[in-house]
Symmetry: C2
Subunit: 647 residues, 2 copies
């Protein structure tokens, strides 16, 4: 297995050096830094980051590639929904009650610690020291304890509040910063809350995911798709999680860009028409059973085999896992530093029935970057039930089928006066009852003379109603069915763009041999913030004019480029752009004035070729479009070689 | 002047029909519609909209064009900053205290009305009825009153709270919905407020503009730009305004996409190097004086003349107004439905010293779509002062200059013990004093033996300090100055993407002659959601296969396309895509199987040509890249003519 602490050239990865490069080149910065440094700042700006020009361009390029790879390739229906979300929507979706992490209060200092992170941090520290406490003179760890700790860590995501409380008590876990005791864990809802309009009676939250907006529009999306199934909607946008105590840079942030696909599929037809395009792809899988046995070693298996053996539940889930792998490869992610890990039962979000995370290996360990969840019919069902709006698909059957089924009939002359303005809602609730429900209700109605059925929200806020035999009849009938109605299942690949961006940067970072100060980011052409550096060798006005002409020419071809006409040596300008991940560099010198030739330098090899302007332009276009390789370019043009550059 | 109520074909504009097209084709929808329609929904989702697939694509295309026209064209430094903003930042910027609208409470019903809109609505209704009240039998308006009302309406944006209170009292203005009296206006801050982290002690707001994030990073941006001035940063992102009572669809929303440029310029050098590229452009200007005289007629004048005559304050402001005009033209905005209106003194945001809005004419009247403000050095100055961080530019002078100047010296042996950890902050405050301040402080110090100076925030929260003669000396010295220090001025073109999108859609909407049900959106190719419709004439598998091959071929060329293989008639499929604004349509029929030819239809004229697949592909590429016109296409291919289509 690849180690998390080596660069792609095999050197040791130095996170401090790496981060200093990213900050120096303004890939990102802590938001509100000048305030945080001010003595009077009492706020909390942790987990908030701004992207500077190269980070912003890299992010835009990743999003652009995502849109092409997923949305355009499969004609997904892209939406842009609001972040501001009324409380009622998120109450129904379960987020108000269940979207929480457990936190412990430091009993002395009063600050809050995320409970699972606290346990993991302390146990890892003990394993590292080989002792049962954080201090040196506590008893040494026995093998049984080492195994126990490792077992807990392998399934740390599977503990609920009680489980975490038990661990903290049993293993004497305290705040590692000051050895203070901590209070038992309490839940903390992760959504930012506010109110809308001048009245404070209308609470809203910032969405924790883009998915809900897509679900609420399912009916319109299906119409737009002319009723045809299956199909997917997609959305790219900011989402928010009010993390308890974020510490790990870009990996745990409170405001982040999510790119989410909601693929709607008939629950009885989870095959995928393009499955065979991905079935031979080999994935490293770490399934649920392996983790529960206390192990963390993944096995490699083709997607076809994994679906056949039911390790991956169905073709559609497998199809998207394959597509995710292909996307990560296009971005430049090291294929030996990816794995797919299945969620444990208690770790899964409340809406999911299965979930695989694509994790990337970084210096922080394995980082969840893409979730691929099967949300079943959960969300569409709860929203349909609450609002009384059908979010089902009506499928016209090829031939009508004779079916025997239970049918419920309301006596409208009586239910009208009885339920008044709620009558329609009660009617829709009765119509929504399925056959299993009707069969048991029929028996109950006969036995008790009345039944209670669940309804969408009524005007008094309750969500059920009692119906007596006078109001409701349930009987068995035979009819010709020509339309089948079902609520689709949702397969959801969900991409944390910031985490992908950070992990990718770690993986493409290295430095020139024997010179840790000369860093390089080997970003592929397709995602590099700038594709071409243009560097005039002197400040001569004619060279300057050529630089601007070349820049405009590249811009017209849609190729992002940057002129560096500063007085720094050419070596320094190259080095600066190596740190920015700029793959190509053109220099313009006095020979350019006489013979129209320019040089083209490749970032990773530092090899330079020289050719006429048009030849070099054609090479740049070919490299970008993938019709020519750098080897082919060096084959047809005069090579300068990778001489050590003046720095 | 163009009328707001005619389409581009001269027909009367019917907003209801227009909006039904946009909703039917899912350009946008009210957010959370299925909840709003639910009887139990007590929340407020007004001013929140979701974009469906065509709206989302149109928005992305407008943003893409904006980025190319502004950011790439001038190498602006694009950033992506957080929406979540600590209160202290927005307190300093003035938004916590001043970013508010005035609202009146209905004295009976208790709901809130925006005060300026209330006054305008009532006065407009009286003018329309010709009476002094909202009821028919109130006295008729005299000419003097009509003039008075029109005068108030022309400068309605110029009234503050007291002014609005006076108008409401003087003109007996009541809630037009129920004739209830309203209470005097009170301010309502327009920012959404929340808290960050588990402690409620850390208040945050959702940003009302992207600008502040850019300003706080000014130092890093200047470094990234290698110290070179002038330059611009830019940002595209969601911003939030908690509007009091939004009613006008996409034009007044609580969550919206802003695209903002912050151009940093030496206050003594507001010339612009590319000014002559725009100086001959004619703009329709409605300046401040004209509005205060009660008139609303704009005059046309070249930008060059406007700057020379000081109607537009400086070249940089004029340059961006010209660039905005060119951008709107590229989008397809009707040039006769644009004007630039200068803000009135009380209308301007608290940070601006001058502002021109680009307004587009719609059925709602003139709509502010782009603001072009001169924010002077306001923001950089207040943030630098609060945080004690320099946000100034240091310019190395070509030659040192001998200057006589006041100099302040602190006795550090005494200030250290006196101010302890605040000593550095006091020191920086003294260093930041300018010559005017020093001269008057010198006199005061001599007279009173002590002075009070303003400081960045100190550890006790105060922002000033008293310094006696024992601590501070101020004297006149002569020295050689080789570096000039200044805080840049900021020119800020700020684009409300949603308002531009809506206004553009109104302006490009029309219908086929004598058939109001057949709507067309004449969006230019560059911004249309889909460029090409592919329609196989039957469901024959071979036609279907060709459709998919053509779609993939277009996709590879980066051209967004849509296959409609539904069983609807070809006329209906064209009509659907006319409403989606799809400029081109390809049909595949049985001739395609035998001779490889396809047809290409142009949306506005309905003219069709027929040619070989490659010819048609070349035509599509040429039309998109602007190297061929539709006239040239019809010149070189067989024309079918615009026969009335089967519908």
């Amino acid at each position: 297995m690849a180690s998390s602490t080596t660069t792609l050239k095999g050197d040791e990865f130095d996170r401090q050096l790496f981060e200093s490069v990213l900050k120096r080149r303004f890939f990102f910065t802590e938001a509100f830094e000048i305030y945080r440094l001010s003595p009077n700042f009492k706020g909390d700006n942790r987990g908030l980051f701004d992207y500077g020009p190269p980070g912003c361009a890299l992010q835009a390029n990743i999003v652009d590639m995502w849109r092409k790879h997923f949305v355009l390739e499969e004609n997904m229906l892209e939406m842009d929904c609001t972040v501001v979300t009324p409380e009622l929507v998120l109450k129904t979706s379960g987020h108000v009650d269940k979207f929480a992490d457990w936190m412990c209060k430091d009993s002395v200092k009063g600050d809050y610690l995320r409970a699972d992170h606290l346990v993991a941090t302390v146990l890892k520290a003990r394993l590292a020291r080989g002792t049962r406490g954080l201090v040196k003179d506590s008893p040494n760890l026995e093998q049984a304890t080492i195994d126990e700790y490792n077992g807990i860590l392998a399934k740390i995501d599977n503990y609920d509040g009680d489980g975490l409380a038990e661990l903290i008590k049993q293993h004497g876990i305290r705040n590692p910063e000051n050895n203070n005791e901590v209070l038992p864990p309490v839940p903390f809802n992760l959504m930012f809350k506010s109110t809308i309009g001048p009245s404070t009676a209308a609470p809203i939250y910032l969405r924790p995911e883009t998915a809900q907006g897509q679900f609420l529009n399912f009916k319109k999306l299906l119409d737009y798709n002319q009723g045809s199934m299956p199909f997917a909607s997609a959305s790219i946008g900011k989402s928010y999680r009010n993390e308890i105590s974020p510490r790990t840079g870009l990996l745990r942030v409170r405001e982040f860009l999510l790119a989410e696909i909601e693929h709607y599929v008939d629950p009885e037809k989870k095959q995928h028409p393009r499955f065979r395009e991905v079935s031979d792809i080999v994935l490293p899988l770490l399934d649920r059973e392996t983790q529960l046995s206390g192990k963390t070693t993944s096995r490699t298996i083709t997607i076809g085999q994994a679906v056949e053996s039911k390790v991956i539940d169905n073709e559609t889930l497998g199809y998207f896992m394959g597509r995710i792998m292909l996307f990560l490869a296009k971005l430049g992610v090291d294929q030996s530093k990816v794995r797919f890990r299945q969620h444990l039962a208690n770790e899964m979000a409340h809406y999911a029935c299965d979930c695989w995370d694509a994790e990337l290996l970084t210096s922080y360990g394995w980082v969840e970057c893409v979730g691929c969840a099967d949300r079943s019919a959960y969300d569409l069902t709860v929203h349909a039930r609450y609002t009384g709006t059908s979010l089902a698909v009506k499928e016209v059957l090829p031939e009508p089928v004779k079916v025997e089924e239970w049918q419920a009939t309301l006596d409208k002359k009586r239910t009208g006066p009885r339920f008044k303005k709620d009558a329609k809602v009660v009617q829709s609730a009765v119509e929504a009852l399925d056959q299993v429900a009707l069969e048991s209700l029929a028996a109950e109605l006969e036995k008790n003379g009345a039944v209670v059925i669940e309804t969408p929200a009524l005007s008094d806020g309750t969500m059920n109603v009692e119906l007596s035999q006078e109001l409701l009849a349930i009987s068995k009938i035979t009819r010709l069915q020509s339309i089948r109605e079902y609520t689709p299942n949702v397969i959801e690949p969900s991409f944390g763009i910031g985490r992908i961006l950070y992990s990718l940067l770690e993986q493409v970072y290295w430095h020139r041999p024997n010179d840790a100060a000369r860093a390089v980011l080997s970003l592929p052409l397709a995602v590099a913030p700038n594709k071409v550096l243009i560097a005039p060798l002197s400040s001569h006005p004619q060279l300057n004019a050529i630089s601007h002409r070349l820049s405009a020419r590249l811009r017209k071809m849609g190729i992002a480029n940057i002129i560096d006409a500063s007085s720094a040596s050419i070596g320094k300008r190259y080095a600066r752009n190596d740190e920015l991940g700029t793959p190509l560099g053109m220099t313009i010198d006095f020979d350019t004035l006489t013979d129209g030739s320019v040089t083209l330098r490749e970032r990773d090899s530092m090899v330079q070729v020289r050719g006429l302007e048009d030849e070099v332009m054609a090479a740049i276009r070919g490299l970008l479009e993938g019709t020519e390789t750098w080897e082919q370019v060096t084959g047809r043009m005069e090579v300068f070689g990778a001489q050590e550059e003046d720095y």
